[in-house]
Symmetry: C2
DNA sequence: CTGAAAGCGCTAACAG
DNA sequence: CTGTTAGCGCTTTCAG
């Protein structure tokens, strides 16, 4: 019944199974009309090549692992989607670390035996823990740079400078920087970007935090923010920004009338919140493509360099003229 | 080099490879001290059983497929997480249909060859298309019931009745039902639940829609809602509810002061929105456990029945006294 | 260009 | 309890 193999097809056509195999994997090695007939009967019989067998034979799994720290963080689903789309017919094995960075090494160990390479989004685990966990498995780190590993990151620096210029032109001069988690590469990059931008300007930069990258972290940040006279706040990400806005509302301040807020990442939330969030967009599709391309290179054994893409500032409702 | 197989171990110990194999897969068939030594040298040599080979030999993949219609819909990430958690050491292969139900059959076809069974969250594809696509692959349908297939659903009926009683007790008597997509099992269930509830009461039920299950669908719904004098609206889901609130705000109506809104699903959004959403919660962890348990049964070939879990109404800020 | 034959690493009867 | 013997379905030399 259901079992259609290259042998069924070979028999049907009176050719050898190897020919059928070649018709699929190295079509150029098979005479056109034979290939044609193979493909036809394969179609007719509903042949589905057995990937498992192929993998055993070739030694490559045809799968890539994708480890995300927290799939419920709205930043990741769109990225997961783009990565799957960019993976073509490689199957993506998604693993969610459930917010527990300490679990990642063992999850990575399990993944390693099932995939040709790993895309690793792990913002918090220490560098050497990661290096040790992945061992010799080809790996590309996402949105983070780790010595000795290939990486693809979205650099928010120039976009944040644009954001800075934007609020400056709206008259803001007292600016709060709500720092993200210490030890996070992205948080460090964003913090540095804002500091650098503020450096040359006649602005007062008020640094608060660090706060956890979450809605509640944003609420906490809002409390501290209320005690300052900053007229605009840069949150670590959109979820934090959302918490900040809620916290400000409780404190009787409206956004953007009393205080402006800038988010980062442009997650769904940023577009459906009232007010919609001014934020920085990541080019997810390009990031995904670059990551997979880099991983393919890494899998061939060539040293793969780091890649940097640029974020884009998006002006929405949460930033307005300084009060 | 790196290749440690059951043969390396067998040779090392002067036993047959089959014994090594058994030491892992059927330990009770191997004398204790032999097993012990096998395990030790396996450990010492860093042996990693080759899952691919095992799968080829046993014909079972040790993997389950999880097809979701749209991973960027915030309902799914928490469910994905729970399913992975409940899957133990089976690997979950997640496939995102990217919102295109027409693609699902081919995605399913690809999945079938890689997994022992499929968890299928496909709200929109027609029943017979699904039945045909899965063929003989053990499958459990999620949040939908399809004749002849095993399923696990969260029944929102009683929770919506509770929600109805809740708004009734707040004085609401003109109630809008914003229908979700036609042909969606969940939308149909929710619609029926509200109608049934309203049936016996002295309330006026205003049915609007159908609207697409999205933020924009909610904005559309708000336009129609503004033209009625309903004091509370039941949205298909939280994302829609969010759009409704935004649309009402543009029309100068505040929630819950002027109009109350009830969502459904209790996604992250429901908790971070201002006002927070009164909504209905799905027991994701139980749903995941039930789904995998049902799938395991289906994989053994036994007929697996449908399972129904109950949602729970959660009262938050978006519902208040009738104006 | 195609057939023959030898595995990939593991499991599963079947003897012993 | 353990060794033997066949494969799982596909790829890949190596001949022809």
């Amino acid at each position: 019944m259901g079992k259609v193999t290259i042998y069924s097809i070979a028999e049907e056509l009176g050719v050898h199974a190897a020919t059928v195999s070649r018709a699929f994997s190295r079509p150029e090695l098979v005479k056109a009309d034979v290939r044609q007939r193979v493909l036809e009967t394969a179609e007719r019989l509903g042949f589905q090549p057995n990937r498992i067998a192929r993998r055993l034979a070739t030694g490559s799994t045809g799968a890539v692992g994708l480890l995300v720290p927290d799939i419920t963080n709205p930043f990741f689903p769109p990225l997961v989607r783009e990565i799957q789309a960019a993976a073509d017919d490689a199957t993506v094995i998604l693993v969610d670390a459930q917010g527990d960075a300490a679990d990642e090494p063992s999850l990575i160990a399990r993944l390693r035996s099932q995939v040709d390479g790993i895309l690793l989004a792990s913002p918090l685990a220490p560098d050497d823990i990661l290096r040790e966990a992945i061992g010799t498995t080809p790996t590309v780190v996402l949105n983070r740079e780790v010595d000795g590993l290939a990486s693809v990151v979205c650099d928010m620096t120039s976009a944040l400078h644009v954001a800075g210029d934007h609020v400056y032109s709206l008259g803001h001069r007292r600016i709060a920087l709500l720092s993200g988690t210490v030890g996070s590469w992205a948080a460090e990059q964003r913090r540095t970007a804002i500091r650098t931008w503020a450096g040359g300007k006649d602005v007062e930069l008020v640094e608060l935090g660090p706060f956890s990258a979450s809605y509640d972290g944003g609420r906490d940040a809002a409390q501290e923010l209320l005690a300052t006279d900053a007229t605009v706040a840069f949150a670590f990400d959109d979820l934090t920004a959302c918490g900040v806005i809620a916290g400000l509302a409780e404190g009787g301040r409206r956004v953007p009338d009393d205080v402006s807020v800038v988010g980062c990442d442009d997650v769904l939330l940023a577009r459906v919140l009232t007010p919609t969030l001014s934020t920085v967009q990541t080019p997810n599709a390009e990031l995904a493509r670059a990551a997979l391309e880099t991983l393919r290179v890494a899998i061939t054994g060539e040293p793969a360099g780091p890649t940097r893409l640029e974020g884009t500032f998006v002006h929405r409702q949460s930033t307005g003229p300084a009060a």
